[in-house]
């Protein structure tokens, strides 16, 4: 790919899409007040759902999922179910209650609920770790696309992509651009589904709903090329599949940047209905994503490569290669690339800013400089943003794994730590600071137990696989939180009363 020419038309479409987002973001700044003024109406909920979906979209959704389908077939369905089913956990157990706490970040919530600076600092450190791991997955997506766009090698593309993200964040910040997530979602869904419609139409399939139309490609692969996808649980056990699926669900309900959507929802009802609309918009992407992986297999078969062993190094780019092999207009390919880049760019900038804020507001003034002013914290946030970006780029220079699987590690960490902390903090008022600190520490240990202890104790890798550790890990962390809380002093009457009255509406008796 390093000898390829610069892709001029796609590059222009990428530039046009980012220009649209910047201009749209400037417009949304002016409209913001009226948007909140109509809180609770239909369009408010719809818009809130689009914002949730846009906040969720990343390179893992646009590129990674199709790559996994191409490479591993049905196994990738664990991601589809995990990344949609997790929103039910979020909806019924956390979304509205989080809104009632009136806090702004995950460490802020943990610090307030558990009345503990230590718990807050630990939650901040975990948030930073989650941001770094998730960003590494995103940078791989950016690098693959930038590599194709500019015709440069992978490592040069990592540096170029990283520089572009940082430049974009600085320009957006300087211009005071507010992220217009609704506009972004609608552009992203068009950029993702339109190429699929072109591809299925060209193949003569049912293109109006390519989410169903791609099924014909599976049949054609079987009847014309004798290619059968391996049976669902032939290569992965049912336990491991379910472990991955539930880990992704627990992680979805524990990712700090996902939870952050609910702290300032205009109203309780909007928070709830926003989740359901968000889930619908996210499902539109996931109903479509398998199609790219399947069509890429079909194009391989048509090229006489039905049984070639797919290369994991290039599998993450099958969304693009399928579009190129399908011979659709270059501007449609450009749209697809722009959509993938935009999703990854915004995911990286949001995660790095979250991580930088966790350091500047939760760690720096508590552990390093108690006398820090607001201005110091702001400067520190900007500085730490650059430090985090440099760290992520350095860690991304050598590819560590597929996009979706690297992202799954971040989900596992969130599912083992932040999710139990929020769940117990809301639904069991006896949980105290000692319990949550012990639980989160155990959660971190479980998350990395496979690479650290798996060599000496293979059973650890079986029970807590790196990408799927929260299936058993999260319940274990909950047990630790319960036991340690019961063995130590209960939380204050103030916080127990706050939880009953303000969060659960229980009247004084």
């Amino acid at each position: 790919m390093s000898s390829s020419p610069v892709q001029l038309i796609p590059l222009m479409i990428v530039a046009a899409m980012f220009a649209l987002f910047v201009l749209g973001g400037m417009g949304s700044k002016m409209r913001q007040a009226s948007d909140y003024g109509f809180a609770g109406n239909y369009s408010g909920r719809l818009g809130s759902g689009a914002a949730i979906a846009s906040n969720w979209m990343s390179a893992a959704s646009i590129l990674g999922l199709a790559g996994l389908f191409y490479l591993k077939g049905y196994y990738a369905m664990a991601f589809v179910i995990g990344w949609t089913g997790g929103y039910i956990l979020l909806l019924v157990l956390l979304a509205t209650q989080i809104r009632r706490f009136g806090k702004f970040t995950a460490p802020d919530f943990v610090g307030f609920r558990y009345e503990s600076g230590t718990a807050r600092t630990l939650a901040a450190l975990i948030s930073i770790m989650i941001s770094i791991i998730y960003c590494i997955a995103q940078v791989r997506g950016v690098a693959l696309l930038v590599s194709w766009l500019f015709g440069i090698g992978y490592q040069a593309a990592v540096v170029t992509g990283g520089a572009l993200v940082v430049t974009f964040v600085v320009i957006s910040g300087t211009l005071g651009v507010v992220r217009n997530q609704r506009l972004q979602y609608f552009v992203l869904i068009v950029a993702f589904v339109l190429p699929l419609m072109f591809l299925t139409k060209k193949l003569g399939y049912f293109w109006v709903l390519p989410q169903f139309g791609y099924g014909q490609a599976i049949i054609d692969l079987q009847t014309q090329f004798g290619f059968y996808w391996s049976e669902p649980f032939a290569t992965v056990s049912l336990y491991h599949w379910l472990a991955l699926c539930f880990t992704l669900m627990f992680g979805t309900a524990g990712l700090p940047h996902v939870l952050s959507r609910f702290y300032m929802a205009p109203s309780i009802r909007d928070a709830r209905w926003g989740v359901v609309w968000g889930l619908f918009f996210i499902s539109l992407i996931y109903w479509s994503a398998p199609a790219y992986g399947v069509l890429a297999r079909l194009y391989d078969a048509k090229a006489g490569l039905a049984y070639k062993t797919p290369d994991p190094a290039t599998a993450d780019l099958v969304t693009l290669t399928a579009a190129l092999q399908g011979g659709i207009p270059v501007w449609v390919v450009g749209l697809l690339v722009a959509g993938g880049l935009a999703a990854a760019f915004y995911a990286i900038s949001g995660l790095l800013q979250n991580g930088a804020a966790a350091f500047a507001y939760d760690i720096y003034p508590r552990l390093m400089r108690p006398s820090a002013t607001d201005s110091d914290k702001l400067t520190m946030a900007k500085g730490f943003f650059l430090v985090l970006a440099a760290a992520v780029l350095a860690l991304s220079l050598k590819p560590v794994g597929m996009i979706a699987e690297t992202a799954a590690v971040a989900f596992a960490l969130a599912g083992n730590t932040i999710f139990p902390a929020f769940l117990m903090g809301i639904w069991w008022s006896r949980t105290n600071a000692a319990g949550v600190v012990a639980g989160m520490l155990v959660g971190v240990a479980i998350s990395f137990s496979a690479p650290l202890l798996g060599g000496a104790l293979p059973v650890v890798t079986t029970l807590f696989p790196l990408t799927s550790s929260a299936f058993l890990g999260a319940p274990l962390v909950v047990v630790v939180m319960i036991v340690v809380s019961l063995l130590t002093r209960p939380p204050s009457d103030e916080i127990v009363g706050f939880l009953a009255r303000n969060v659960h509406d229980v009247k004084d008796r």
Binding site: G215, R269, V275, V276, P290, I426, S429, V496, V506
Partner: protein
């Protein structure tokens, strides 16, 4: 619950107030429908895979898709959306009842005060 001088403790397994009990019952029902759908569908697929010796699962087509692709890739996300809608409709009604209860309580309180000399 072991709280110093308060009986307001929140425990999802032992909700104290009637309204919270109703909410927890719905949460339990939704979670059960979520869990059974996720685990049940995969156990069913695993069972079909191990018992249907003569066919590949991808030869059983439903809605133009192999049955397992349809079940996991199309139906389950739709099922989650339906569960979300059911939960929200119930919660909207539940909160309206709670709100009406608050209004009635206030109205009664005011009329008793007015009757006092």
């Amino acid at each position: 619950m072991d709280h110093k001088g308060t009986d307001q403790g929140i425990n999802i397994f032992r909700p104290q107030s009637g309204l919270l009990r109703g909410e927890v019952q719905v949460i339990v029902m939704i979670m059960a429908a979520w869990l059974v759908a996720v685990v049940g569908s995969q156990v069913a697929i695993w069972y079909m895979e191990t018992t249907l010796i003569e066919y590949w699962l991808s030869e059983i087509i439903f809605f133009n898709l192999p049955i397992h692709f349809w079940l996991s890739g199309q139906f389950l996300p739709l099922w989650f959306i339906l569960l979300g809608v059911a939960f929200n409709l119930w919660m909207d009604r539940h909160e309206s009842r709670k709100f009406e209860g608050t209004i009635r309580y206030r109205a009664i309180g005011r009329s008793k005060k007015e009757q006092q000399p």
